[in-house]
């Protein structure tokens, strides 16, 4: 019986370019390092013998030295060997980060427990045999696990055999996260593996915790890094116990702290209140300063409601780590607002301008959106004028 931690897709150094505020972006980036520390706690708690990182430890094949130094520093804190293969994000090959002098130096001095597996060569431990399938290119047409099918495994006797691979199984794999275009998918043909001779397949690339085959699991990313798809459970690692010819026991352990919330609202004139309530509820558990929200807004609101909505959205945009608003709300001046602009016997010009704009909006012409905006501006100017009077 051997227990180890299976994790993947740390993607340290991920830019999170969608977060415009530098301080908050740094917080989100730094949390991925902190999450590695929580893996260390899991290792200790579960007495894991080693850690397998199934690819994409780094977000990029060219991480900065800071990212490298932080990564190797926190890895060095893990008290057991850490085995890592390059994934499609931090693939090996010529000039890869794994060969960079700075990486090698930090590796040697600060994280000697880290084992970068750049070759399709079995790593034999007393308690297990690790069969690494590193990606030496961003995309490869061949199955990275193909070499295992040619391998004579008989020499490994009763030691559990663990495949370490990164790629899509055909069903699951990496996906676009709004910032990173979905890259070419490297397919891992787990069904072609000699499963009788294999005891566990540790997969990376799919960011949620998920079983991909009888003995195959995606651990998912250790800290959520995008708005997850339905059913996807990111922010965990797998604590795996394997034995030769036994079915693996796989238990997810939560390591993530940030909540990535995705919600949509169809709004009316109570738009501001609804947004306020919805976001308050969604962030209550994790805390507003640990939440990243994707808010889809639609519906029709009056000029005043729009102004109030904008105020609430602005407030939340500063509270949250990140707030993406997909604003498809249609501005529809209320009857009172229209009357307030049109029925101005004393201000014939404003009245006539407002009538013309309302006519454009009602006609649904191409310029209707411009006319709505103009009505909004006019409304604001009239309010200013009235306040001045």
């Amino acid at each position: 019986m051997t227990t180890f931690i299976h994790t993947a897709d740390w993607q340290l150094g991920k830019p999170f370019a969608g977060i415009r505020d530098t301080a908050r972006r740094t917080l989100v980036q730094q949390e991925r390092i902190e999450a590695v520390r929580r893996i260390r706690e899991a290792v200790v708690a579960r007495q894991a013998r080693f850690v397998l990182v199934a690819g994409d430890l780094f977000d990029s094949p060219t991480p900065t030295k800071t990212v490298v130094a932080h990564a190797l520093g926190v890895i060095g804190e893990i008290p057991v060997p850490v085995y890592v293969i390059p994934g499609n994000h931090d693939h090996g090959g010529h000039g890869c980060l794994w060969e960079q002098p700075f990486f090698l130096s930090e590796h040697r001095t600060r994280a000697p427990n880290l084992h970068v597996l750049l070759e399709q060569t079995a790593v034999e431990r007393d308690d297990a045999v690790i069969l690494p399938c590193p990606l030496l290119q961003r995309q490869t047409a061949s199955d990275p696990t193909a070499w295992i099918r040619q391998l004579d495994l008989t020499g490994y006797a009763d030691r559990p055999r663990i495949v370490l691979a990164h790629g899509s199984t055909g069903t699951f794999g990496s996906q676009a996260d709004g910032e990173d275009v979905a890259g070419p998918s490297n397919v891992v043909a787990i069904d072609s593996l000699p499963l009788d001779d294999i005891d566990y397949v540790a997969l990376g690339d799919w960011h949620g915790f998920r079983q991909a085959g009888p003995k195959a699991w995606y651990a998912g990313t250790h800290e959520t890094d995008r708005f997850p798809k339905a059913g996807q459970r990111p922010g965990q690692v797998a604590c795996v116990t394997v034995s030769r010819r036994g079915m693996p026991v796989v238990e997810p352990i939560a390591t993530g702290r940030f909540a990535w919330v995705e919600t949509t609202l169809d709004l009316g004139d109570d738009a501001a209140a609804r947004v306020e309530e919805t976001l308050a509820a969604a962030t209550r558990e994790a805390g507003f300063d640990r939440c990243l929200v994707d808010l889809g807004l639609s519906g029709r609101v009056s000029l005043a409601a729009r102004r109030e909505l904008d105020r609430v959205v602005e407030s939340w945009s500063h509270r949250l780590l990140r707030l993406d608003v997909r604003d498809e709300v249609t501005l529809v001046p209320s009857a009172d607002e229209i009357r307030g602009l049109v029925d101005r016997a004393d201000d014939p010009i404003i009245s006539r301008v407002a009538q013309a704009l309302v006519h454009q909006i009602e006609a649904g012409e191409v310029e209707a959106d411009d006319a709505r905006e103009a009505v909004n501006i006019l409304h604001g100017l009239c309010q200013q004028a009235e306040a001045a009077e």
Binding site: G13, P15, G95
Partner: protein
């Protein structure tokens, strides 16, 4: 408000004058200085000038003719009430003003003035120097002289009425909305915001939100491009490393293969080179054997050739020798024949020479006889010449005996004679003539006696004696008679002298001799001509020469001793003899030619025979030489090569065959190796290896550079950078979209505000413009339109559009002087019409000589316009010095009398009564 009547007293020219106004149309006529303007000015003063006014205004009102304060009494109607305002302009604070309501109370002074103010709705003007202010009161209704063509929108002159008009337009039921303060403020913000964001060209300003968003998008895109380029460089470097790895590996593999090929090729090449050395040696041996065989065979062939040639030469010599012998015999025969022909020819030549000499003698004898015959004729001609010479000598002598008077001389003599006779006649004319007609006794004149019937001429004092009387006759004329006498004597002397010179006694003799001389001279000339015709002295010379020739011929023939020559005795005989011998000579000449030709032919034949003989001899000599050369060459060759030539040839042939066989074997081996191909292969392989090495080195260098590029500097992750750049680009583009939407919204607002403002402004002035157009259509036709600009609470432009002017809108200032007057009048009428509502629907409007620039054709239109104004309720008062111009207006006419000092009443439709004041008052004024 309507004016009913006005009475002025002590007002400038007017002592007292009352003018009644028609309700609608009044024309006040009268010549210049009749006081028309004074009447309407007085009305104006009554309405607007305080009675206590002083200074220049008051002074301008005072009369120079009439003592007393200027006083105006004006009756008018307002809101169905009739008022009479009376002002006496005393220039003091107590100047009286009254306002009496018909059938009602009378207000005085300040109360009256205040009530009047309410009625006319303007302030009262008073104090000093208030003329300018005064003129501005009801400036739209009072068209003073000289201002009719002024711009009715001129704010300086028309500010108050235009303000009043603006206010009135705003309250009209038919339109008249005006911009509010809120409108103005919001509109200003909209315009300023739009202008601050967008240029006139529609392009966003750089510092506007959209301009900044555009710049941000451009910057973000630049950053994205740079980040992509950086990643592209890294990816290119990776690709380079992979590519150069392949090149290096492939080069290495290929290099191994090429080097193995090179080694094998080198071995074969060495083998080929060895064979090539051997081939060269065998080739030399074979060449030498062939040379030896060729030399032996060649000598044998040369000897055989020599012998064959000797035989051939000997065959050619035999016929040539026979031809030589025959040629010698032929030459000898020809020599003999040639000598015989030569002898015969010489004999004929000699005979011909001898006969030629005889023929010459006969020719000379014939010539002698011919010359003798010619001499007889020549001697006769010489005798005739001698006779003629004797006859000529006789005639010459006769001519010498006659006086030598020529025709010229005869004329000269006649001339002298006429000179003398003329001198005589002149003398006779001036001399005194005396004629004795009858006498009993002798009468003596001078030294002689006068004969009866004879007249005498007296040229000098001459005594006349008769019958004892002695008279002295003195001719008159002074010295003239003496001069005439001298001239006559000189002429007579000259005539005599000439006659003596010619040897004749008188002129008659000369006239007789001169024809006779001419006859003799003609005969003498005939003789001389005959002598010349016969040859004269030349005939004598010819005769002498002929005689000498005859003598010489005789001498020649006389000495001839040839026996075969007998001298003929006559010409005929000589000619016959000469012809006979000539014929013989011609025959003998033919023989000479014949024998000479025969001799020449014989000589030619001899030359031919000699040539044949010499040619045969030359050929024999040549053949003999050729034969000797051939024999010598044959003997030399035989001596050189010996007699065993066949054996030598056989041995040389065998040696050559052996050498050729060895050479062929070596060549076959060499061809199998293809040494040229081996050499080319060696060069090719060398080239290929060098290229592989070069490519490999280049790939290694390129790989090194690419690896260096891949070495991460580590301060920046280019992919991170790209992600940031793309995010920034998305944000910038989103902001740009929002800014563009806002910018379009602002532009839309600005446009709508401008449009709606223009719309209400147009709507605001529409009632005014329509009224002005209504008046102007009377003048410019039904399609004339008027446009009145209104912006910022001000009337800005007045434009007239006329179809007959191409529909172009003409600004007021661009109209002609007449049109300006008419358009300004229309505008004033329209104004008055609108403002009249504040005055019970009626206002008076005064035109004082306001259409002076109108042409006659326009007058009808002007009257229609004024009539329309009356129809609209206005009270129109027209002042004109020619009120007949307004006959068609149908107006009430008030005609003021010609300049004078007036007193009376001018009722409508009648002339004002003549002034009652005395002429002395007028003169005193």
């Amino acid at each position: 408000m309507k004016l009913r009547s006005v009475t002025v007293r002590n007002y400038r020219i007017h002592k007292e004058l009352t003018v009644a106004f028609d309700e609608a149309l009044t024309v006040i006529g009268g010549p210049n200085e009749a006081g028309k303007t004074t009447v309407v000015e007085a009305v104006h003063r009554a309405l607007f000038l305080r009675s206590r006014a002083s200074g220049a205004v008051l002074e301008s009102m005072r009369s120079a003719f009439h003592p007393g304060h200027p006083t105006v009494e004006l009756t008018f109607e307002s809101s169905d009430t009739t008022y009479t305002v009376t002002k006496q302009f005393t220039g003091t604070n107590t100047a009286p003003t009254t306002l009496a309501v018909t059938g009602g109370q009378t207000l005085r002074n300040d109360e009256a003035e205040a009530a009047l103010r309410e009625l006319v709705q303007t302030e009262a003007i008073g104090g000093r120097n208030s003329e300018d202010k005064l003129r501005m009161q009801w400036a739209h209704l009072w068209v003073w002289q000289g201002v009719a063509g002024a711009d009715p929108l001129d704010r300086d002159a028309m500010q108050e009425p235009l303000e009043r008009l603006r206010g009135r337009l705003g309250s009209l039921d038919e339109g008249g909305v005006v911009e509010s303060q809120t409108d103005a403020m919001v509109g200003r913000i909209v315009a300023e915001t739009h202008a601050s964001r967008t240029r006139d060209t529609g392009v966003a300003r750089v510092d506007s939100p959209l301009g900044k968003a555009d710049a941000a998008v451009a910057e973000a895109r630049t950053r994205v491009a740079a980040a992509r380029a950086a990643i592209g460089q890294l990816e290119a470097a990776v690709a380079t490393v992979e590519r150069t790895d392949t090149i290096i590996a492939e080069s290495e593999t290929s290099l191994v293969a090429r080097r193995a090929e090179q080694e094998e090729n080198e071995r074969l090449l060495l083998e080929a080179q060895s064979l090539e050395v051997r081939q060269a040696e065998q080739q030399a041996a074979a060449t030498a054997a062939a040379a030896r065989l060729a030399a032996v065979a060649d000598a044998d062939r040369q000897i055989r050739d020599c012998e064959a040639r000797i035989t051939a030469i000997e065959g050619r010599r035999t016929p040539t020798a026979a031809r030589q012998t025959a040629a010698i015999a032929a030459e000898q025969e020809a020599t003999t024949r040639c000598a015989a022909a030569q002898a015969a020819a010489r004999e004929r030549q000699r005979e011909h020479a001898e006969l030629g000499e005889l023929a010459e003698l006969h020719r000379q004898a014939e010539h002698l006889e011919q010359r003798r015959s010619e001499r007889a004729g020549l001697a006769g001609r010489c005798g005739r010449i001698a006779d003629l010479r004797q006859e000529a000598a006789a005639l010459h002598k006769r001519l010498a005996d006659l006086p030598a008077v020529t025709a010229a001389d005869l004329a000269d003599l006649a001339s002298h004679e006429r000179g003398r006779d003329a001198a005589q006649a002149k003398l006779d004319a001036i001399a005194t003539r005396v004629e004795l007609v009858a006498a009993d006794s002798a009468v003596r004149l001078g030294d002689h006696e006068l004969a009866v019937g004879r007249s005498e001429t007296i040229v000098a004092d001459t005594p006349l004696e008769a019958a004892g009387a002695r008279l002295v006759i003195t001719p008159g004329g002074g010295t003239s008679v003496a001069e005439a006498t001298r001239l006559r004597d000189a002429a007579a002397t000259a005539l005599e002298s000439r006659l003596r010179q010619l040897g004749v006694a008188d002129l008659d003799e000369a006239r007789r001799v001169q024809p006779l001389r001419q006859t003799v001279e003609a005969a003498l000339e005939a003789k001389r001509s005959a002598i010349a015709d016969l040859g004269d002295t030349k005939a004598d010379a010819e005769l002498a020469a002929l005689d000498a020739e005859l003598a010489e011929l005789e001498e020649t023939l006389r000495g001839q001793t040839r026996p075969d020559f007998s001298r003929p005795v006559a010409l005929e005989a000589a000619t016959a003899a000469r012809k006979a011998i000539t014929e013989r000579l011609r025959s003998l000449a033919h023989d000479v030619a014949t024998t000479a030709a025969e001799h020449q032919a014989a000589e030619q034949r001899l030359a031919d025979a000699r040539l044949q003989r010499e040619q045969a001899a030359d050929e024999i000599r040549a053949i003999d030489g050729e034969l000797r050369d051939a024999q010598v060459r044959r003997d030399v060759l035989v001596e050189e090569h010996g007699d065993q030539r066949d054996e030598a040839i056989t041995a040389a042939t065998q040696a050559r065959t052996s050498a050729d066989e060895q050479l062929a074997a070596t060549q076959t081996a060499l061809q199998r190796l293809q040494p040229e191909l081996l050499r080319k292969t060696a060069a090719r392989l060398q080239r290929a290896i060098e290229k592989l090495l070069t490519d490999s080195r280049a790939a290694i260098a390129e790989r090194t550079v690419a690896l260096e590029r891949l070495r991460n500097e580590g301060t920046l992750d280019p992919r991170d950078d790209l992600a940031q750049a793309l995010a920034a680009e998305r944000v910038a583009e989103s902001a740009q979209r929002q800014a563009a939407r806002e910018s379009r919204a602002h532009a839309l607002l600005a446009r709508l505000f401008a449009e709606k403002k223009a719309e209400i402004e147009a709507q605001f002035v529409a009632p005014l413009a329509e009224r002005v157009a209504g008046y102007l259509r009377c003048l410019f036709g039904a399609d004339a339109t008027v446009s009145i600009g209104y912006a910022g609470d001000m009337f800005t432009t007045l434009e007239l559009t006329r179809p007959d002017f191409g529909g172009i809108a003409l600004a007021f200032r661009r109209l002609s002087g007449g049109a300006r007057e008419q358009v300004a009048a229309a505008f004033r009428l329209a104004m008055a019409e609108i403002l009249a509502t504040e005055h019970g629907g009626c206002l008076p409007i005064v035109f004082d000589d306001a259409f002076v620039n109108a042409d006659p054709s326009r007058l009808a239109g002007i009257q229609a316009m004024l009539d329309r104004a009356a129809d609209q309720g206005l009270q129109v008062i027209v002042l004109s010095c020619n009120h007949r111009d307004y006959d068609a207006l149908g107006a009430t006419t008030v005609e003021l009398p010609k300049a004078g000092v007036s007193r009376g009443t001018a009722e409508p439709g009648a002339a004002a009564a003549p002034a009652g004041n005395s002429g002395a008052e007028a003169a005193g004024g």
